[in-house]
Amino acid sequence: MKTTNILIVGVGGQGTLLTSRIIGTLALNSGYDVKMSEVHGMAQRGGSVVTHVRFGDRILSPLVEPGKADIILAFEKLEAYRWLPYLKKDGIMVVNDQEIDPMPVIVGASRYPDGLPEKISCRCGQFALIRALDIAEQIGNAKVVNTVLLGVLAKYLEASPEAWQKAIEETVPPKTIEINKSAFSKGYSTKQEIGKGKVHGGNVLEQSI
């Protein structure tokens, strides 16, 4: 099997690590070789964070190279745009429709870029914009925004929903299994057509529930 390269990007504290670990568990359960590179320490304090996930027959480097990611799952729009050069041509971009101002923007040294969904969608094969925070809050816990997004991502990978549920059970803290499973299901069943990115303009899919 060809190696699958996934990048999970966001802001330190958003729960990107748990998401990547669920994908890793799923890939391991499916019999693949897996490597994931995580960020710990200083970069977790609200900084830009990225987790690389790679699986296939045999994985050497734990890092996804620029232009080689099959899928980028972005927890925040500016981070989606920042890591966009890592997406392969015609790659898939799943973006949480959330803006978190970085400190240079808060102190007025910099501006948060406008029109990011358009700028991103025109440079990817498929593009989905999800209001995952709303969905998570509807379930009753804003923290499961990561599993909601994982549910959306899951539709682009081959594994069955049952295999995903098993990977969630094996990875998340026992007390949070149920809420994470329902968050995953919500993400997975979110009715959406996948926006086809076009070179000019792009068709942005604004997904609300």
Binding site: G24, L28, H40, P85
Partner: protein, 576 residues
């Protein structure tokens, strides 16, 4: 059984399987998870030591006492532990002793990029370097075998991408190794000059034997494919190079000191063009060149930062990397968390225009805008000695506008001796201990003043007030850094005083209590958009389209409410 594990978890598992009984460490990214993982095994005694030197000494004691022992630290921690390191090389071991140093190429979470392989060479200690989690486990077990067979401590070099990457590991059972007999042997363990001279000869002999062994070790592996290009590499650099050039020949080194000279010479004779791929310093390259073998290394690759498959491919094949970024994006540097107690402290220091000599921890982030308060950061514990040095250089009036700032865990690590220096040499320094009741930056490890061990058992609480008083500090004050008025008053009092003093800024780390809190919000009718609250640099306070708002990151700490002159900030944990 197969499991996904961090490289650090691989080391811990390897030590567990090898029958390790004692594991010690001071936390430091990227090494911390090794000790956190091994602490979960009931069969292993584990501890957070006050610093790396003590951790090393405790592990040496365990080894001399007959147990297999493990000590872990980040690369700069090995500087702190270098004193015992160089001499335990002479004494050798009783139970196997493995020392893990985790380097941080690219400085994801460090103040420098030093290469620990030089320590192996300088201290004449063999060093293994794994390239994934399975090797981390296997090499740790091999390290114990080498340690006991050659009567030597063994170093394991990790790097961030091995420590913090997960890959598949096959688990095996623990091998119970009994305690070795404790034999008093002053010729071996008492390093006075007469004995040490004898032991140095033993070390020399051991190094020669280990060099021969290196030629036979299966972890130094030749992978012959293409006869034109060959690569000598180790650790994560090997994985990158293999990915970049799958058809090239490789000599993959598992032991990076001493080097397998015969095997390297043999490999060099099999290929036309030889490259050395290594991160940071040209350690392998320089030694191989010293044998008269021509290799290409740092002429092509930087000593700075990390390598990657893409970089290697680009340099070797001359292919250009794609870069399609056209727009300059706002950066996202790490920040003090919402509710962080340090924010109040730095806000007041900035208001008082104090010079701040900083230290190592989350609170180093106070150097960044808008707080922009910290003037220096060198190493663990440096703040207090540096404050005294500045006073001696520039005089007492300068010292009255100067504070040393240090965290509780860092103070215990290596700030205490600095404070003794202030007293002994008649300084007037004001030392601020930012006491957030934890080791924050590395992920909330306990320390001697938290009242808990690494295993979560209750422990005696180090009395920090009693300690600074015993050192000779007569003026000790305790302030909540969120009480901005009192903090300002106390800082003024103590900096103006012609005597040394310690101020404890006490408030627990915002991440310790995982409660979400009642968020604050801004009343648009009373907010005058003066922007004072934005000076706190809180990621929860944003200004958009000429209005200030509070976002969902807010945990209701209320610091901004204490600051607002118009009482425009409502909600929060304190006022409902």
């Amino acid at each position: 059984m197969k499991k996904l594990m961090l490289g650090n978890e691989g080391v811990a598992r390897g030590a567990y399987e090898a029958g390790v009984r004692v594991a010690t460490a001071y936390p430091g990214t990227p090494s911390t998870e090794i000790t956190e993982t091994i602490a979960k095994y009931d069969e292993v005694y584990a501890e957070w030591s006050p610093n790396e030197k003590v951790a090393m000494e405790t592990a040496i004691g365990a080894s001399v006492g007959g147990a297999r022992a493990l000590v872990c630290m980040k690369h700069v921690g090995l500087n702190v532990a270098a004193d015992p390191l160089f001499t335990v090389s002479y004494t050798g071991v009783n139970g196997g002793l493995v020392i893990v140093a985790a380097d941080d190429p690219g400085m994801h979470s460090s103040q420098n990029e030093q290469d620990s392989r030089y320590y192996a060479k300088a201290a004449h200690i063999p060093m293994l370097e794994p390239s994934d989690s399975q090797e981390a486990k296997d090499f740790t077990k091999l390290a114990y075998a080498i340690s006991e067979a050659y009567d030597t401590p063994v170093l394991i070099r990790m790097t961030t991408r091995v420590s913090h990457s997960q890959s598949v590991v096959t688990l095996e059972d623990r091998q119970e190794i009994g305690l070795k007999e404790y034999k008093r042997d002053f010729m071996k363990y008492v390093m006075m000059p007469g004995m040490a001279r004898q032991r140095h000869l033993v070390v020399e002999k051991r190094s020669v034997e280990l060099s021969k062994t290196a030629d036979e070790l299966s972890v130094n592996r030749m992978e012959i494919k293409d006869s034109f290009i060959g690569f000598v590499s180790s650790g994560i650099a090997y994985q990158y190079a293999r990915e970049a050039l799958p058809d090239a020949s490789f000599l993959k080194l598992g032991m990076v000191h001493p080097l397998p000279r015969k095997r390297i010479e043999e490999f060099a004779s099999k290929v036309k063009k030889l490259y050395v791929i290594e991160e940071l310093e040209p350690v392998l390259e320089e030694e191989i060149k010293s044998w008269g073998i021509s290799v290409i290394g740092k002429d092509l690759f930087s000593r700075q930062g990390e390598l990657s498959a893409g970089v290697i491919e680009e340099k070797i094949k001359g292919t250009a990397r794609l870069e399609d970024r056209t727009e300059e994006l706002p950066g996202r540097p790490p920040v003090l968390c919402p509710g962080c107690p340090h924010r109040g402290a730095y806000y007041v220091m900035k208001r008082l225009k104090l010079n701040v000599v900083g230290d190592i921890g989350c609170y180093t982030l106070g150097a960044l805008p808008p707080l922009s308060s910290v003037d220096t950061c060198v190493c663990m514990g440096a703040s207090i000695g540096m404050a005294l040095g500045m006073e001696k250089a520039r005089g007492r009036n300068f010292a009255k506008k100067l504070v040393a700032v240090i965290g509780d865990s860092t103070f215990i690590h290596s700030g205490i001796t600095g404070l003794i220096d202030v007293i002994y040499n008649k300084g007037i320094s004001t030392v601020v201990i930012l006491d957030n009741s934890t080791t924050g930056m590395t992920g909330h490890q306990d320390h001697p003043a938290t009242g808990k061990t690494i295993k979560g058992e209750p422990a005696p609480v180090l009395d920090l007030f009693g300690l600074v008083r015993a050192i000779g500090i007569r003026h000790v004050q305790v302030v909540d850094p969120f009480d901005l008025k009192l903090a300002e008053k106390v800082l003024k009092e103590e900096t103006e005083r012609e005597e040394p003093s310690v101020i404890f800024f006490q408030r627990p780390c915002a991440l310790l209590s995982r409660k979400s809190g009642i968020p604050c919000f801004i009343n648009p009718d009373t907010c005058r958009v003066c922007g004072l609250c934005l000076n706190l640099g809180c990621p929860a306070i944003e200004k958009k389209e000429n209005r200030i708002g509070i976002n969902q990151l807010c945990n209701g700490c209320g610091l901004c409410q204490n600051l607002c002159r118009f009482h425009a900030i409502e909600g929060g944990n304190n006022r409902q």
